[in-house]
Symmetry: C2
């Protein structure tokens, strides 16, 4: 049993501009996350996203607009024979750069929330390689620290608690 | 403009057991995520978590119980001089293994949601190294694919849509 211990240094810092919270404000919305997932697996059209993810039409319209506004997806016009021009939704570079977050989540879930039949979704290196993709922790010093060797330290943007 | 294009193969698969959704059911809850963040930065006591994260007492009690139930944190007893025994909350191995998810989020936010003063939170290799920690995509084939070279493919657990 710990008898006494110093309180965490983090107690001195504000949570107000927390990096993780700011990311979760975007990703943590259930419908937003479902929309992003669809675009990531290549489902790009309004009707397809709506039917596969089971999102109410009005909610989908709002979430797509918000994701475009935040720069994570962009519209790309297409036209089926005999129909009017419509938009598909594609990931921007900022959206694509969420891949490490998704892959890290999939990796964690495959270990700690496994399904009897095996993983439903496998991040894969496209093309000839076809290798399974994972993420690994690495540091500036050239090491590959384990999670226990990592700590979250205040950076220049950390604000003292008032 | 794309004239016609094959619908995504993902349209054939059910979203019902989606790996990403199952992870977001845990992480996507705003308060759960705030609690986890506190434990990650080393804030481990009920009163400290409550005051720093601004979580209502009853909500914190519930979220801590759920995180223990899911195996992400565990109780560790401590006693301050002259007081009754209390519990701190520490990450289990399953909780610690969320580090790649957090680091990936921080890395993305530092690039796409930067703050004027610089990052508030820097994942750091503990001890002598002190290097900044990041995550990188890698594959079984020994490559480091860019996000554009990654795709999410159905695995053995993928279920056809009904």
């Amino acid at each position: 049993m710990t008898m006494t211990e110093q309180p965490s240094a983090a107690m001195n810092w504000s949570t107000e501009n927390c990096t993780i919270s700011r990311t979760m404000e975007i990703l943590g919305d259930k419908w937003t996350f479902h929309v992003l997932r669809e675009v990531f697996v290549g489902v790009r059209r309004f009707e397809d996203i709506r039917s596969r993810a089971g999102i109410p039409r009005q909610v989908l319209t709002e979430r797509l607009a918000a994701l475009i506004e935040r720069g994570l997806i962009r519209r790309h016009p297409y036209r089926l024979p005999g129909q009017r021009e419509r938009s598909e939704y594609r990931l921007t570079q900022a959206g694509l750069d969420l891949y490490p977050v998704l892959v890290a989540m999939i990796q964690w879930a495959d270990q700690y929330l496994p399904l009897d039949d095996g993983p439903p979704l496998i991040p894969t290196h496209r093309g000839d390689c076809g290798g399974k993709v994972s993420v690994a922790l690495q540091c500036d010093g050239g090491h590959e620290p384990t999670p226990r060797e990592v700590s979250l330290q205040p950076g220049p943007g950390a604000k003292p608690r008032s």
